[in-house]
Each structure stands twice: as structure tokens, then as C-alpha cells.
Amino acid sequence: MTETRRRWSGGAVQDRLRRLNLITTVPPLAFVGVLLLALTARSWWHAGIQVVGLVAALVTAERWTAGDYLRIARPSLAVTAVVWLAGALTNDTAAFFGVSVVGSFLVPPLRRHRLAALFGLAALVAVLGLPNVLVHPDHTGPRLLQYVAVPAIAVLISTGFMFATQRLFDLVAELEQSREREAELAVARERVRFASDLHDIQGHTLHVVKLKVALAEKLMDADPGRAQEELREVHTLVGDTIVQTKELAYAQRRLNLSAELENAKNLFEAAGIHVRLEREAEPDARVGELLGQVLRETTTNILRHAEARHVRITLGRTGMAIVNDGAAEPGPLGGLSALRQRLAEDGGELDVSHADGRFLTAVAFPELDGAGR
């Protein structure tokens, strides 16, 4: 369950990264491509081959953002290479745009020989531009510059830029991975801790129980009184262990007072009791835990003893009051009297009163109130 959820959330981060990539790469490339087309194309032939190169470049870019460029990259490289060769032969200086884009997507993700691939790509672009110089004998110097040097250098620069981008994305992916691993590690550590605690509590008891039961079995005929004694001890021991195991399982389960109030409210409403919650102030952090204990105890009492129809909970900065109707004559306080002791140790006062079928539980921390002012 946790596995699939984590992967799902990781996938969501990847999706967002992908979309961001798509927005930052494809439109600028399309814009530059169209601009080049408008500025440099001098015939329908030029426009035609540049469009073919641009489309191949954009398709590669789109596939790259989806992380699935390998299948499309090689055919694209072939198409754009042919486009550049055709452009070079027909005096179209801008026809290398496609091949430089596709190349710069293709080289950085390679695992090995990236530098060799980079210079190989530059050499390829230079070689494909060379026929222009060979078929046109005039202006050899400027033609070498336009069709060999500039495209080769442009490919080097754009691919170099993509190296940096690739590093950035690798870094993000790595961060995401390490975040997932950390979460997994925390879960594993917690499991080990829990298992050893559980073993400490139950392993010991099981050994003792096994011995005592064996003893009782032996004593059954000879000394039934002692056998009974042993069985009673087993009973107590197992009872204690059940309590300890429960505490272990729920030790981490502590909510803040706001959440506990919400849950208490939901419980009352489920039992058909109308609840009004009044927050006069946010409770002081120091008393939240104690107020929570009073709330739990009072909730239990109301659910159990009273035929309550209405409950009103008022929460102040240093105190809380709970009033419910439908209360019969006040019984023994039970859990509340134990709580009163604990509250007194922390400077808290617990008041309970009963009048006209209404029961009031109020807790206040007067000292804290004074200090706060």
C-alpha cells in the first residue's frame, strides 16, 4: 500500500517536471525554427526542407521530455542529417538547425563516450556542410565559415548547453530518489525498533507462561492448590502483557488537542448527541496534552453514563469547560479523580458539578493565566 502510494507521488513529481520541460523546450525551439525559416528561406524548396528538419527536431524534443526519445532519436538524426546535406547543396545555411537540435538531445544522456560522441556529431555536421564548398568553387573562405565552421561550433555550443540541463535533471531525479530511500529507511528502522520492543514484552512472558503451565500440569494431582495458584499467576501475567502490548501499539498515537476535539465531536454526533464547540482562544501549548486527557475522560463518561442530548465544549487559552445534559445523580468520578491528582501536580484545577440534570466538567490553569498577562 505504502509502496504504491510512494511511487505514485514520485510519479506526480516526474509528471510535473516533464510538463515544465515541455513548456521550456518545445515553444522556444519552434519559435527559433520559424524565425530562421522566415529570415533565411529564399525558395519553397528551402522552406520545405527546413520544415521537415524543424518537425523532426520538435518531435525529438517532445519525446525527450517524455523520457522516451531513444526510439525516435536515430531516425530523426538521419532525417535532419539528410535535410542539412540537402540544404548545404542548395545554399540553405539555416538547414543545420534540425540536426543540431536532435544531436544535442541525443548526446548528453549517453552513458559512455559522450565527449567522443559530441565531437563526432560536430564532425558529422561539418562533413555534411562540406559538399557546399566542393560544388561551388566561388567564395571558398566565406563558404567554409558558413557551412562548416559555424554549424559545427553551433552544434558544440547547443549540445554543451544540453549537458548542463541534463545534469540538472539528473540531480532532481537523484534528490527524489534519495527522498524516497530516506522514507523507506525510516520505516525499516521503526519496524526493527518495534519488533525488538514487542519481543522484549512478549518473549519474556511466553517463556514464563510456558514454564508455569508445565509446572501446574505436574502439580495438578499432587498439589491442586499450588497448581491453581500457578494458573492464577499465569492469568495475571498474560493480562499485564496484553496491556503493555496495547500501550506499545498506541504509544505513537497522540494527536493535538484540535484534532482530538474534532474526533470527540464526531463521536458525540454519531451517538446522536448534539455538540456545540466554542473556541474562545487557542489553548496554550503547555496544557494541550492535559486538556486532551480531560476531554478523553469526559467523552468516555458522557458516552457511557449519561443520556445526553446536548454537549457544549468551551475552549479557552488556559482552560476548558464541558457541559452535558441528561446526567443522572453523580456517580463515583472514577477516571476523573485520578486525573485531578495529575492536574494538581501541574497547577491545574478540575471542577465537576451537577445541577438540574446538567453536568459540568471544568479544568483551569490559573497560574498560567496570570503568567500570560
Partner: protein, 200 residues
């Protein structure tokens, strides 16, 4: 004399209870059931004073069986036993009008006393069960959980609004409720809090 039907899929425990309850007090076990369907059938046939039913059972669980029984016998008194009440279970059981909730680990004498308390028309919920329900349940509504889930996945408020087909103001309201209930200052802290408590 109080009559009961005992429904529990754990045969060892059920048999032990069936043997111990009559020994502890004035209780007659009319029938035993080992899953939810049998529990429904046995209750409708025997009409016991109190149905004692385990929460966790195969096929139809305790809550499902209680819902079916309520339709046919709205007045049926029900005591629910539980090993470890999952968050929200007590709330659902109360909604179904279950009168009693006792931990399975309780002493048979205690269970007997509670059966008689319920038969006398009162309600009984073990303090540890209800206290646990207060600290262990999820206070967030489904919608609040939805917006926190989307927050955890890194979406902005505008994106969450788009995905859940809500107005941005509504999303902000849900987020601020969730932050208030979890006592956190940012929506990301609230999402983390919810995730740590296994609510998402």
C-alpha cells in the same frame, strides 16, 4: 436470565466465551455464529436479548451484520467485541446504534457485567476504546484529505482547484480547516502531519 447469540470467527475464543459466560452469571447462549451471515440468521431466528458480536470477521464483518440486523430488528441490543478497533469504527458503530463496545481482552466477568448492563437498557463503552477513538481517528473530512493529497504531490492551489473541480476559495477553505485541525502553519506541514498519521 439474559439470552445471547455469540458471533465470533475465532473458534477458540468463541467456545471459551460460550463456556465461561453461563458460569459467570445468569446468561444463556442460544446460538453461536462463526461469520457475519450466520450472525444475522441466528439473531433473526433466536431473537436474543443481547447479540454479542465480534467486529473483525470474514465475509460480512461485524458492522455489516449489525447494519442488516438493524433493518429487521431495530430494537436489538448489541454488544460489539473488538481486538483493536480501527480508527473510525467506534464512530460507525455508534451511528448504527450499537449500545456496547468492549475489548476482547476483557475479563469474562467484565463482559458478563456489560451484557447485563446493556440488557437493563443502558449503554457501555470501555474507557480505553472511547479514549482511543478520540486520539486515533482521522479528524479530517474526505475533501480535506483530497486537497492534502494533492498538496503532498506538489500541486499549487490553482492546480488543486482545477483537478478537483472546485473554486480556489473553496480549496483555500479546506486547506485552512486542515491546517487548523492539525495545528500546522502551512499546507505542506499539514500534508506531512496527515501522512505521518497514515490518513492519506
Amino acid at each position: 436470565m439474559t439470552t445471547v447469540v455469540l458471533a465470533d470467527d475465532e473458534a477458540l475464543l468463541r467456545k471459551a466465551l460460550a463456556a465461561l459466560l453461563p458460569l459467570e452469571g445468569e446468561i444463556t447462549v442460544l446460538a453461536e455464529a462463526e461469520d457475519g451471515e450466520q450472525a444475522v440468521a441466528a439473531t433473526l431466528r433466536h431473537r436474543p436479548d443481547v447479540l454479542v458480536i465480534d467486529l473483525e470477521m470474514p465475509t460480512v464483518d461485524g458492522l455489516g451484520a449489525v447494519a442488516q440486523i438493524r433493518r429487521a430488528r431495530p430494537e436489538q441490543v448489541i454488544l460489539m467485541l473488538t481486538r483493536h478497533a480501527r480508527p473510525g469504527v467506534l464512530r460507525k458503530a455508534l451511528k448504527l446504534g450499537v449500545q456496547g463496545f468492549v475489548s476482547k481482552a476483557a475479563e469474562p466477568a467484565h463482559i458478563t457485567a456489560v451484557i447485563q448492563t446493556l440488557h437493563a437498557g443502558k449503554r457501555w463503552i470501555d474507557p480505553d476504546v472511547s479514549a482511543l477513538a478520540v486520539v486515533d481517528d482521522c479528524p479530517l473530512t474526505d475533501r480535506e484529505l483530497d486537497v492534502l493529497r494533492a498538496t503532498r504531490d506538489g500541486f499549487s492551489v490553482a492546480e488543486i482547484a482545477g483537478r478537483l473541480h472546485l473554486a480556489e476559495g473553496t480549496v483555500r477553505n479546506y486547506l485552512s480547516n486542515a491546517m487548523q485541525k492539525t495545528q500546522t502553519r502551512t499546507r505542506h506541514e499539514a500534508a506531512r502531519y496527515a501522512r505521518e498519521h497514515d490518513w492519506l
